[in-house]
Symmetry: C2
């Protein structure tokens, strides 16, 4: 029997539910990954897996990654071929069931939820012509122990995303409580200035994205470029020659317009285009 | 039929489960209350309810408080008389089911989970002789938009509570990332110095506890005392004449020992004892 999307499995059981005692529900005590499914495979799976394992280590959640990979493969194998061509996979791992308080249970059996959702149909011109972004008022908190992790404590993103309803605005730009530029609500950010590329240091706030890592470690070097990771501020943004965002689902979007007191326009830089081309090429192979 | 503890109801249905698409599970998108159940009633329910309503407002979760109160009353009415005498009620309200992303659904049907758990048997000498506390390395993040709320993003508390296993340590003291004294992992904190009482300002970090509010607004005035809410630091803690902690379950615990480089001992102040007496009296009536 083939499943229709969305299909969601809890610990390998399709359509199962989770306990209200699950620590994911009680405290956001877990992590997640959002991945693209393309030709029945997850591009950059090794990077997703690496972040998942490291995040679980940091939160000392004893994830059995082989069990997770088996469940994932089984779920994908139950899809129609059409659905495997282009979909979204969301993997959530929590510390499983626990008692009422914050203490970590002595025996932890993590909960693994794998959901496969229809692809998001972003307008193709986001990729080619760039997007319009705005600033978010909501700040990201500074917390070195949790920075970088894609954990389940996401109220800041929810409040930030709720700041606008205007469908012409594709993303919101977020700063931390120390007014450092950090990321988009669901993207990482890069600035181009005088032919150099910069991206915010995420050691104190933000989510260390898989596509961001792929660009820094693989794509930029292929293009003969070096990306500088450092603290950036609003002035760096305003003085940039060009801006682009990235995530695992959409790849790279140039920023065409930034809504400040007035709308600031940015050109689509040839570096952005060449990175887009290199990513498309790398993920097609 | 009488239920045995714990008994947990999801949207009024005992032993029901929650969807993996629930935003509480996905993002910690919700709030909770932990209350004492005593003689079939929740002491300070009006304050719990007030915080719940205000927290939901701040997160724009459209909670139907009358529905919640009906479910709570029904659940309590199903308990044995013995269980109603002394138990713990945990109420969780989330934004309900949603899609994959951070965007708030157009139509929100909150999930209400009410659990009644056996009372925690804290050693009686915690109340009379005071407790031993330690510092937590984990810092609380600064976030004015979320400060004060008892929301479901609790990874900081989980990491803090996981720092010690020594059963002789009853609580951990937490500072924010700006090194301000904020609270205990599951308590609020007060300092006594030269007959004056101080408690940390929680407008940028921390949970605004119901017992803390009751002490500030009702109990301290009854004792002819005024409590000063302000920014406090580690030196204020070290130079205090006495320290006490509070929450809705245990009331007030004096701090007898603070583990610093060496163990610092604090006396049990007569102010602490008189506040304990006034709380006991107020909640018995």
């Amino acid at each position: 029997m083939q499943h229709t999307l969305p299909v969601i499995a809890v610990n390998g059981v399709i359509d199962a539910q989770v306990s209200p005692l699950d620590r994911g529900f009680a405290y956001g005590d877990g992590v997640f990954e959002t991945c693209k499914l393309q030709n029945a495979k997850i591009p950059l799976w090794d990077l997703h897996k690496d972040r998942l394992i490291k995040s679980c280590e940091k939160l000392f959640i004893p994830i059995a990654i082989d069990v997770l990979e088996t469940q994932l493969a089984e779920l994908i194998s139950g899809l129609s071929i059409a659905d495997t061509q282009n979909a979204v996979v969301k993997i959530t791992v929590t510390r499983g069931q626990g008692g009422r308080g914050y203490s970590v249970p002595t025996l932890v059996t993590p909960t693994i939820v794998i959901g496969i959702f229809p692809a998001v149909n972003y307008p193709p011109h986001y990729f080619s012509d760039g997007i319009t972004v705005r600033y978010c008022k909501q700040r990201l908190s500074v917390n070195p122990g949790l920075a970088g992790l894609k954990h389940l404590n996401r109220l800041e993103q929810i409040l930030a995303r709720a700041e606008w309803n205007d469908g012409s605005i594709a993303e919101g730009i977020m700063f931390d409580t120390r007014e450092r530029l950090i990321e988009g609500v669901f993207s990482n950010i890069f600035l181009i200035k005088n032919g150099e590329i910069f991206t915010p240091d995420l050691s104190e706030a933000g989510v260390s994205g898989v596509m961001r890592r792929f660009i820094i470690e693989t794509i930029a070097p292929k293009a003969g470029l070096n990306i500088q990771v450092k603290s950036l501020y609003v002035d760096d943004l305003l003085n940039a020659d060009a801006i682009f965002l990235c995530n695992s689902l959409y790849g790279v979007w140039p920023v065409a317009n930034l809504i400040d007191e007035k709308v600031l326009s940015f050109p689509i830089h040839k570096i952005t285009c060449s990175l887009q081309d290199l990513i498309t090429e790398a993920l097609a192979s």
